[in-house]
Every structure is written in C-alpha cells, then in structure tokens.
Symmetry: D2
Amino acid sequence: MKELTKKVVEFTQERDWDQFHSPENLAKSISIEAGELLECFQWNSEYDIEEVKEELADVMNYCIQMSNKLNLDIKEIVELKLAINAKKYPVEKAKGKPTKYNKL
Amino acid sequence: MKELTKKVVEFTQERDWDQFHSPENLAKSISIEAGELLECFQWNSEYDIEEVKEELADVMNYCIQMSNKLNLDIKEIVELKLAINAKKYPVEKAKGKPTKYNKL
Amino acid sequence: MKELTKKVVEFTQERDWDQFHSPENLAKSISIEAGELLECFQWNSEYDIEEVKEELADVMNYCIQMSNKLNLDIKEIVELKLAINAKKYPVEKAKGKPTKYNKL
Amino acid sequence: MKELTKKVVEFTQERDWDQFHSPENLAKSISIEAGELLECFQWNSEYDIEEVKEELADVMNYCIQMSNKLNLDIKEIVELKLAINAKKYPVEKAKGKPTKYNKL
C-alpha cells in the first residue's frame, strides 16, 4: 500500500497538480468517479469488467490521495470503522438482513 | 492489503451479507458513501477530521469488497490506470493545469 | 410542468425505454448525472455555463421521470419538504448558519 | 414552477443562507442528496415511498435553487437537452436498447 501510495503521489507531483488537490476537491473527485463506476451498472446488472476496473481504480486513486493528504492510514481507518460497525450491527441482530442499524 | 481484505470479507460473511453484495449493489454503495464523504465539505472547505475518517473508510470498505468480489487486485488496477492516465496526461502538456485530457 | 413532463415521457416512450426506467434505475441515473454536474466544478468554482446547463437538465430530466413513474407531484413534494425543513431549521436558530439540524 | 421557485428562494432568504449557495456548493448538494435518494434502493429494488418522496424533493429543491441562481429556465434547458438527445439517440437506432450513444 505504501508503495502504491508513493506511485500515486509521484504521478500528481510530476504534473504539479498538488495545488488542485485540496481535501474538498478530492472529496468531489471521489463522488464524480463513483458516479462513473455506477454508470457501468446504470440499466442492468451486466457490466463490462474492463470499464469497471478503470472506474474502480479511479475511485481508489482519489481515496489514496485523500488519505495521504490527511495523513490517514487506510488500514487503520478501515479497521477502526469495522469496529464501529461491529457495534452498530451485532451478528445476532444483523445476520441475513440488509436493514440499516437505526431500524434494526 | 490482503490482511485488510480478509477482515472486511469476514465481517460480511459473519453477517451473511454476501447475498446483498452484488457488484451492482456495491457500486451503489460506493456512490452513497462518496456522497456522505462529500457532505463533510458541503458548505465550506472546513471539515471535521473524525467524520472524514469514517466516511472515507466506508468508501474504501466497499471498494475493497468490490475488488474482492470481482477478483481484482487493487494495486494492479490502480497501477494500470496510472499508466493509462500517463498517456492521457503527458507531463509536458498537463503540468500545472487542471484541464481534462480531451481539452488539453 | 405538466407540459414538460409530457414531453419527457414521450421521448422515452418513442424509444421504448420505459422497460429500463424502474425507480431504482432512475435513482442510479440521477446520481450519475449529479456526478457529471459536479464535474463542472471539480477543480475550482469557475464553470462553463453551457456544460452546467446540459448536466443540470439531465438531472432534472430523470427527476421528472421518477416523479412521473411514482405518481408524485413535484410541486407538492417540494412544498411538503419545505414544511418539514421549516421545523428542522427554525429561522431564529438557523439564520446565517450552515449547521446541520442535528447539531443546531 | 415560478411559484414553487419563489417559495424555495424565500425559505433560503429568510435563513440568510444565500451566502452558502454558490453554484459549486449547490452542485455538491445535488450530488449529496442524489446519494441519499439512491440509498432508498441500496440493497434491493423495494423502497419506502415516503422516504423516496423526501429525498427526491431534496434533489429537486437544490436543482431549483441552482437554476434560479444561474438565471436558467428549467423548462427551457430540459427541452433544449431533449433536442440534443434526440440527435444522439435517433428513434430508429435507439429503440428498445439501453446502449450509450457512443456505442450505438
């Protein structure tokens, strides 16, 4: 992950794009790319795996940039959120149900 | 990354949620969470780092699940996309500009 | 509004696209187009008014289709929501503040 | 529509929120609310009509605000886009197919 982050950051630095990559603009970019990923599934559940690959990579790319910009460790924050979700969705209550925690 | 993917997948399996996690539903989920992340920056560029952490983790969580579901290697697809973007945005043309490739 | 809805619906019917326009797919489409609208403002607050026009029209188009599909009257539901928001955001508490109701 | 726009704008003015409603922030808001609308359909195609109503109203509300802010007439821009789409998607080519214009 560190190696990948390094590559992503270098790509940006070589192009002097850091000036555009405020946390706010990165949040917009993640949303924009998430929309393009969703477009792969707009009218039915069939999809072109090559398109999905590229769009998912775009979302991840900006997520990596945001975590780097804010000095967040991806592994750490995802594990932290899993711990929070484990309390919101205890196995015995949530098993087999897609219900949101506030309606469980 | 493999360790993290394993934890994310286990969380889902324990709750028998795999039945809901079609690629299509994961794409919707990434978009939904990206919207929540953007909400941290809705009215200005100030933000609560704790909220950003949680929302970014949610986006990453679903990205990890989608890559696992589709047997995609995150490192591989992000590097592949960097190579594609390097051609779309050659340093000498793109440097210091936020212009989209089709207008460069 | 009724006249506009009629035109939007006719466009769809002529192309036999009604089969793709489930409420779920329309919700995805609204999100996708909202992402394209946001892209007009991705890196700064400057924008091309012609692009904004087209993308805003796309979002509105799918909103009109969804309201038609679900037999919802746009004027009615927006006014209803204004009434709900008026309680969530009483003038004396919310004036001049961008704070979300649950933190007011 | 003019009457509805007037109500939406008054709601904002009473709260002195116009200062937050730049076109950019409204674009973010449309995306955020579109995500909440999509959440009504996150795990399956069933939905709670009351929730859908409120979220669709939120999207429309910000669309109305953006059109007002940019002096755009909703009917005009949607009709303009229909004319553009009619060329991209001629009936004889597009009928019964969900294919994007660049692949038709």
